[in-house]
């Protein structure tokens, strides 16, 4: 089993517009370190494929939080163009781990591939995760987003998932905390700072980011303590995927549709 005391942070800084995310994950790393976690910081030149693979092999962390550019089938790290780290065909090293990728679009194909490769849980986004900064900010996208009036709302919402994991929350609870944090920031822009020039744009981006967060789980066969860590459902004898698995309630919706269909057919038959 992977080492439950270790978290890996992957945070490149030389890819296009990556400075903000680099510093954002520094906040998440510091939060975890202050809580006593063994935080493995794969930043700057360490945010490359071979370093990350070696780090996973050598340290075997249970948790990984990666920031960087991505698309449906890959996640990338340092450099411009950025160096590819994980792809749908090369993500086996993530098996038995809990993964969060703050990146674009990976929930479409890479996330499912990561679960297929044996990861316990994955969270990521199925659209292009977006943010804005104050155009007058002299640091632009190279600085700490927590010091930018607008960018803090997007990055703090995204980081909330990892603050929750660091607090010891189950992964599905952490996903919900992040969703709730996006909504808190939406409320902030509506109720507390509606006069800021880009407040409405922030609301749209926060809502789009929030509603594109997808969580996938792989609970089968887990023993009880790890079952709870992942946020799966422990029945007393076995570990099941949480009711809201896949982040969109797909299974409950299918069940509801099936039930409605059965009731409809039964009602129709009785009427005849």
């Amino acid at each position: 089993m992977a080492d439950e005391s270790k978290m890996m942070f992957v945070r490149p800084n030389t890819c296009h517009d990556c400075g903000n995310g680099f510093y954002a994950l520094q906040h998440a790393r510091d939060y975890a370190t202050n809580l006593g976690w063994n935080a493995l910081d794969f930043s700057e030149e360490l945010a490359r494929q071979q370093s990350v693979f070696d780090g996973l092999d050598g340290n075997d962390p249970l948790f990984l939080y990666g920031f960087g550019h991505g698309n449906a089938s890959l996640y990338s790290g340092q450099g411009e163009p950025p160096e590819i780290i994980f792809t749908t065909n090369q993500c086996d090293k993530l098996n038995n781990r809990l993964i969060y990728l703050l990146s674009c679009l990976t929930a479409i194909a890479l996330g499912p591939a990561i679960i297929e490769a044996g990861a316990l849980a994955y969270a990521g986004f199925n659209i292009s995760w977006s943010w804005i900064i104050d155009p007058s900010n002299p640091d632009g996208t190279g600085g700490d987003p927590y010091e930018d009036l607008y960018a803090i709302s997007m990055y703090d919402s995204a980081n909330e998932l990892w603050y929750a994991v660091s607090d010891g929350d189950a992964f599905n609870t952490a996903v919900q905390r992040s969703i709730d944090k996006y909504t808190e920031w939406i409320d902030y822009w509506f109720y507390e700072n509606p006069g800021a020039p880009y407040s409405q744009q922030c609301i749209g981006i926060l809502a789009a980011n929030r509603d594109s967060l997808v969580a996938l789980y792989n609970c089968e066969g887990l023993e009880e303590p790890l079952c709870h860590t992942v946020g799966c459902e422990w029945t007393g004898t076995e570990c099941l995927n949480p009711p809201s698995a896949n982040g969109n309630g797909g299974i409950p919706i299918l069940l509801a549709i099936s039930l409605i269909t059965i009731i409809g057919i039964t009602f129709f038959a009785v009427q005849k």
């Binding site: 517009d17 409405q200 744009q201 981006i205």
Partner: protein, 73 residues
């Protein structure tokens, strides 16, 4: 992601153009590795690119959230 009728798309574009005219749209950055100035935002939408679709989606989400918040009072 949602797809929009041509009427709905036009409505969302007009809202974006209105906010650009009022100086209420900042350049957008994405973790897909692209950034868009306000001029490029409209261009991407009109060309029907995936980036344009993302921007329309954000605008629709803004509309939904404003409705939710106004109903709450």
């Amino acid at each position: 992601m949602e797809t929009f009728s041509s009427e709905k798309k036009q409505h969302l574009i007009e809202r974006i153009e209105q906010r650009i005219a009022q100086g209420q749209m900042a350049p957008v950055h994405t973790l897909g590795g692209r950034s868009y100035t306000t001029d490029q935002l409209i261009d991407e939408i009109k060309r029907g690119t995936s980036a344009g679709d993302d921007l329309l989606y954000q605008e629709k989400k803004l509309e939904d959230e404003l409705n939710r918040l106004r109903q709450r009072g």
